[in-house]
Amino acid sequence: MPSEVSFTLNGERVTTAVEADESLAWVLRERLGLLGTKIGCGTGDCGACTILLDGHPVCSCLLLAVKAQGRAVVTIEGLGAPGQLHPVQQAFMEHGALQCGFCGPGLLVSAAALLARDAHPSEEAVREAIAGNLCRCTGYAKIVEAILAASKDAVGEQSR
C-alpha cells in the first residue's frame, strides 16, 4: 500500500503518496511532474538523475522516495530559472558545455554542489566531482572548462 512522504522540494514543502519501491527520480517525474531530472540507467551508474539531498548530490534513481521523508531536495528546477541562472548554468551556456544535454541537469547539480563546498576547485577536483555523471557527447572538456569558469566568476563577484 502506498505510504505518504513529505519533503522540501526546491524550497517548498510537498507531500505525495508513493510506493516503497519507487525511486525519488520516478516520483519527481511521474508523481510531481518535475521532468528536469533525467533517468538514464536506473541503477545509479550514469548520474543523469543527480539531485541534491540535504545539499549532497545523490542519484535519485537509487534513492527510494520513502527515504526522502523530512529531507531537503533540490533538482535542476531549483538551481536557477531563466533570468536568475546559477553561475554554473550561465557558464554551461556560454562555453557550449552541453551537446545532447541529457546529462546536463545531473551535471549542473553536481557542479553546483562542488562550488558550494569549494569555491576554487582545481581541475582535478572538478573532474572528481563529476566523475559520477557520464556524458557521451562532449568528452567533458567544455564541461570542465565551464565549471572552472563559473568558479572564477563567483570569485570575481565576491571580491566586488
Partner: protein, 435 residues
C-alpha cells in the same frame, strides 16, 4: 486533421548580427538545456496515456510454438496486447527486408520482441508482460561468424548465412606482392560496442479520432522511421506523423524504427496515447550495436617504404538481421586500405548472420573498425622497412588527384597539413628515445 504543438517551443536563435558563419555561437537551445526544459522522449506525457512494455525472447534462436495471451490479458490494468500477427506488413529493412516488427514464427536473437503489452501503469505493463506465455522450441544457434560461414552451420534466414560479399579490386594484387621486398600480415578483431546514448529510446503515440497517428520519438531519422512505420502498418504516409523530440544522444543508435509501430498499433487499438521507454538493459540486449569485425591485412612494401599491394579480408558479424550491416560493410570496405596510394588492392568484405545482437549504424559506420586495423598495420609495415611511422605515412599518403581503390579521385587532400599541425601542437620531437 490533428493539431498538436511541438514538444519544445519553436527554436529561436538568440544572437546578434549577421556574418553568422564561423562564429562560436552557443547552441540555440542552451537556455532550455541548462534549466532542464528540453523535452526528450521520456518527458512526453499525455492525458490518459497507457504504458507499453515488450515481451522479449530469452533464446538466441527458437521456433515460437505458441503464444498464450490470456493470462496477460486478464492481468490488472491491461488494455491491449499485440503480436506479430497484428502487424499488417511484418517485415522491413533498408537493403535487406529480413526483419520483423515483432517475431512471428521464430526468434533469432536474445531480446527480440515477440509481443507488446499496453496497460494503465508501467508497473502493470511490466507485470502483464511477464505473464505473456510464449512456448519456444530452441533451434540450433550459431555465434561465431566463421562457423556461421560453413555450409553445415545452422541457418538464420535462407540458404546461406553470408548476407553480403563486397569486392573491391584495383590493379593486380598478386603481381604487387611479387614485387614486394617485405610482406606484413596481421589480423585484427574488434568487439561489440553499444552506442550508450544516455537517453534510452523513448516515445509516445497519440491517435486521432480519424485513425491517423502522431508519434513523438527520440530519433535521428524522423522521415525514415515515419516512412517505415507507415509501410509496416499499411497506412498512408500522410497519416503517420512523426515528430522528433529532443534527442538525448544517438550516435547511430536511433537511426531506425524500433518501437514506433508497436505504440502506434496499441494507440490505434485502444484509442489512447501509448508511451514506451526502453530500459537500459533493453538498450544493451535488444537494440543495435557496432558490428564486431575480424580483419586480415596483408601488405607488400618495397624496401624504400613504397606501398605496393594490400589485400584485406573483413568478416562482419551481422547478428540476426542485416539492418545497416550491408551499407556499413560497404563503407568499411571502401576505406579498408586507408588513405594511402597503393597500386594493387584487393578487398573482400563478408557480412555474416549469427544469433548475436543485431549490428546497426554506429558513428563511423564500419570505418572505426578498419581504421583501427589499417593505422596500426601502417606502423607495423613501417617498422618492417625500418621507417619512422610518420615519414612512412607521408611517403605513401594520398595526395590531390590520387584515388581510392574505388577509383574515386580525391581533391583538396589535407592529410599532410593535419599531420603537420597535430605534430606541432603535440610538440612532437623524436629525440631522446630508446632504441
Amino acid at each position: 486533421m490533428t493539431t498538436i504543438t511541438h514538444p519544445a517551443p519553436p527554436t529561436v536563435i538568440e544572437e546578434t548580427p549577421s556574418g553568422a558563419v564561423g562564429r562560436r555561437v552557443p547552441r540555440h537551445d542552451a537556455l532550455l538545456q541548462v534549466t532542464g526544459r528540453v523535452v526528450y522522449g521520456d518527458d512526453m506525457h499525455a492525458a490518459g496515456m497507457l504504458w507499453a512494455r515488450a515481451v522479449r525472447s530469452p533464446h538466441p534462436h527458437a521456433r515460437i510454438a505458441e503464444v498464450d495471451l490470456l493470462p496477460a490479458l486478464s492481468s490488472p490494468g491491461v488494455r491491449a496486447i499485440i503480436t506479430g500477427r497484428d502487424v499488417p506488413r511484418n517485415r522491413y529493412g533498408f537493403t535487406h527486408q529480413d526483419q520483423p516488427v515483432l517475431a512471428e514464427d521464430c526468434v533469432r536473437h536474445v531480446g527480440e520482441a515477440v509481443a507488446v503489452v499496453a496497460a494503465e501503469t508501467l508497473r502493470q505493463a511490466e507485470e502483464a508482460a511477464a505473464r505473456v506465455m510464449v512456448r519456444y522450441e530452441p533451434l540450433p544457434a550459431v555465434f561465431d561468424p566463421l562457423e556461421a560461414m560453413r555450409t553445415d552451420a545452422p541457418r538464420l534466414h535462407q540458404d546461406t548465412n553470408v548476407a553480403e560479399h563486397i569486392r573491391i579490386r584495383e590493379g593486380d594484387v598478386e603481381a604487387g606482392f611479387a614485387q614486394a621486398d617485405a610482406i606484413v600480415e596481421e589480423e585484427f578483431t574488434t568487439g561489440f560496442v553499444e552506442h550508450a546514448h544516455l537517453e534510452p529510446h523513448a516515445g509516445l503515440a497519440i491517435p486521432s479520432p480519424d485513425g491517423a497517428i502522431t508519434i513523438y520519438s527520440s530519433v535521428q531519422r524522423p522521415f525514415l522511421v515515419a516512412g517505415d512505420t507507415a509501410k509496416v502498418l499499411a497506412m498512408s504516409q500522410n497519416r503517420v506523423r512523426l515528430i522528433a523530440t529532443g534527442v538525448g544522444g544517438g550516435f547511430g543508435g536511433k537511426n531506425e524504427m524500433t518501437f514506433e509501430p508497436w505504440i502506434a498499433l496499441l494507440a490505434l487499438r485502444t484509442r489512447r496515447p501509448v508511451k514506451i521507454v526502453f530500459t537500459r538493459e533493453e538498450e544493451f540486449q535488444a537494440t543495435t550495436v557496432r558490428h564486431p569485425y575480424r580483419m586480415r591485412y596483408r601488405t607488400g612494401v618495397r624496401a624504400d617504404g613504397t606501398l605496393l599491394a594490400r589485400a584485406v579480408e573483413i568478416i562482419s558479424d551481422c547478428g540476426a538481421y542485416v539492418s545497416w550491416g550491408a551499407s556499413t560493410l560497404a563503407k568499411a570496405s571502401i576505406h579498408a586500405a586507408g588513405p594511402y596510394a597503393i597500386p594493387h588492392v584487393k578487398i573482400d568484405g563478408y557480412l555474416v548472420y549469427t544469433n548475436n545482437p543485431v549490428g546497426g549504424a554506429m558513428r563511423g559506420f564500419g570505418v572505426p573498425q578498419v581504421g583501427f586495423a589499417y593505422e596500426c598495420h601502417t606502423d607495423a609495415v613501417a617498422e618492417a622497412v625500418t621507417m619512422d611511422p610518420i615519414a612512412f605515412r607521408l611517403r605513401n599518403a594520398l595526395r590531390d588527384g590520387g584515388h581510392l581503390p574505388t577509383g574515386q579521385v580525391l581533391e583538396r587532400v589535407t592529410l599532410a597539413e593535419t599531420l603537420r599541425q597535430a605534430l606541432e601542437m603535440a610538440e612532437w620531437r623524436r629525440e631522446g628515445r630508446a632504441s
